[in-house]
């Protein structure tokens, strides 16, 4: 009974990790940058979502607008930072990314934006039902997170594997220079990459905001390093790896918190998993040397 409930909770948690990690993985795949500022996009997505929701009171519309806004914001981040750092050692954009993250978090805390307080995001389960079985229950909020994640990931999967632009994206993440030499407009592919990845992060922000009924300027701090752990675990730039790692991390966290949670807080468990993993599989679950 407990087991099934823990597992279903873990899967829901894994979904939110996954939405974050997918975008990060996509950016890493093409630019080889650990895009820490991705977590700012997550916060901004939640912020835009809660604002729109307070005006229109419709979850789906606020999700859509938050995703579009986040996507465009992601493109701007690329265009005004990483764009200038394509041909320098990869530590430079990494440091730029950390700086950007700190700056954006500070900016968001300004009174004219989010301020220092938490906002409620009372969208509930957007009308989805609650599911009760003899073994476990899924709240309507959880069902919302699960179904939105699945739909978005299936769409991304289809885009990457069934379309020409998706094939171009795969080529660009394997060999950027050569991709340009078969006729791929790298700027366009990378912008698209940022748009999609950032829109997913924005969706994650909205969903987590609703789940916790709370949106605040520093809500990206935790996901910033969790997502980072996930892409290292998953094997830098491997999308299937990131999916696996998201679920795995969420499961391990949930079960360890349930058993030894009084010794170690949840978030140190994540790092413990990372360290153990790197000891035994330094290239991540599905990574290649």
């Amino acid at each position: 009974m407990d087991f099934a409930q823990n597992l279903s909770n873990a899967i829901i948690l894994g979904c939110t990790y996954l939405l974050m990690a997918a975008g990060l993985t996509m950016v890493y795949g093409v630019l080889k940058v650990l895009h820490i500022a991705h977590a700012s996009v997550y916060t901004i997505g939640a912020f835009v979502g809660v604002l729109v929701y307070s005006w229109v009171g419709n979850f789906w519309l606020s999700l859509l607008i938050a995703m579009i806004f986040s996507g465009v914001f992601g493109i701007l981040i690329y265009r005004f930072s990483y764009y200038y750092l394509l041909d320098v050692p990869r530590t430079v954009p990494l440091i730029a990314s950390i700086g950007l993250f700190v700056m954006l978090t500070d900016l968001l805390q300004k009174p004219f934006l989010m301020g220092p307080y938490q906002r409620a995001f009372p969208a509930g389960g957007a009308g989805l039902p609650r599911i009760d079985t003899p073994w476990f229950s899924i709240t309507s909020k959880q069902l919302l997170i699960f179904s939105v994640t699945i739909v978005l990931m299936v769409l991304v999967y289809l885009l990457l594997t069934r379309t020409r632009i998706g094939l171009g994206w795969q080529a660009a993440s394997l060999d950027r220079e050569m991709a340009a030499a078969v006729g791929i407009n790298l700027n366009r592919i990378i912008a698209l990459n940022f748009f999609i990845g950032s829109a997913l992060a924005g969706a994650a922000g909205v969903l987590v905001g609703i789940y916790n009924n709370s949106v605040f300027a520093t809500m990206g701090d935790l996901p910033s390093y969790k997502a980072f752990i996930i892409i290292v675990l998953g094997g830098m730039g491997s999308l299937p790896g990131a999916i696996l790692a998201s679920l795995l991390l969420a499961i391990v966290e949930n079960f360890l918190v349930a058993s030894i949670g009084y010794v170690l807080p949840r978030d140190s468990i994540a790092f413990l998993v990372l360290i153990l993993m790197l000891m035994f599989r330094p290239h991540g679950l599905l990574g290649q040397e």
Partner: protein, 233 residues
């Protein structure tokens, strides 16, 4: 087709090519021959747009192209077979070829698949395989096939013979020679002067950053200096 005027190219402080001028005419196969490290790949990288020249001009059909990014040069009809092939190793043979026709319409893609599979039947057989499982020679054929997928007017080929067994070198260069029948001009850079001279219309010799000689294969084969330095006496 291609005209290059007084190109100076280098990396950082060091200049590698000190004023290179050459041309490739419609349907002509031209080689630039030079020893290892002569700057052949440097020239190709500049022609495709990976590298910016310090000065000089590149014209494709009398239109200056040196300001264009690589993808726009491809759109204008250039195809590239880079050094070591650089196929997309983790993708299937078919996806590699499809990528070669990234800017083409579905109709042309269909046609070009036929052209390429006819040139290299082995690629048709292996089309579902991951590219990295191909042998070295097959990988070079895939690299050529990929470049042919865009139905280019000018093909740039960087040392296809590198790392291949002698028999394959012959075979692969022969195929490049046969591209004549596909209305494509070829600029081929090669270390293997002996084999390259068998298939080209004209060749240049690159030494110390200058094109020191040019001529037909026959002229070059009879030139004592070329004989001594490039054809093993």
């Amino acid at each position: 087709m291609l005209r290059v005027e007084n190109l100076h190219i280098g990396y950082g402080q060091i200049e590698i090519l000190h004023g290179v001028s050459l041309d490739v005419k419609e349907n002509e196969i031209v080689a630039v021959l030079g020893a290892n490290g002569a700057g052949k790949s440097t020239l190709i990288k500049t022609l495709i747009g990976w590298l910016k020249p310090r000065s000089g001009e590149i014209y494709l059909n009398e239109e200056p192209i040196q300001q264009l990014p690589p993808w726009q040069r491809i759109a204008k009809g250039i195809g590239l077979v880079p050094e070591t092939g650089r196929i997309f190793r983790d993708l299937s043979v078919e996806d590699n070829l499809r990528l070669g026709a990234y800017l083409q319409s579905e109709a042309i893609i269909k046609e070009q698949f036929q052209v390429v599979y006819e040139l290299f039947p082995i690629l048709a057989e292996r089309r579902k395989q991951t590219a990295k499982t191909l042998s070295g020679g097959e990988q070079q054929m895939l690299a050529i096939g990929r470049a042919m997928m865009s139905n280019p007017r000018l093909l740039l080929v960087d040392e296809v013979s590198m790392g291949l067994m002698p028999i394959l070198v012959k075979r692969v260069l022969q195929v490049i020679g046969e591209l004549r029948n596909h209305q494509v001009s070829v600029l081929l850079v090669e270390q293997n002067a002996y084999e390259a001279l068998k298939i080209v219309d004209r060749a240049y010799i690159l030494e110390n950053g200058h094109l020191v000689l040019q001529g037909t294969p026959q002229e070059l084969q009879e030139n004592p200096k070329v004989k001594a330095a490039y054809l093993g006496g």
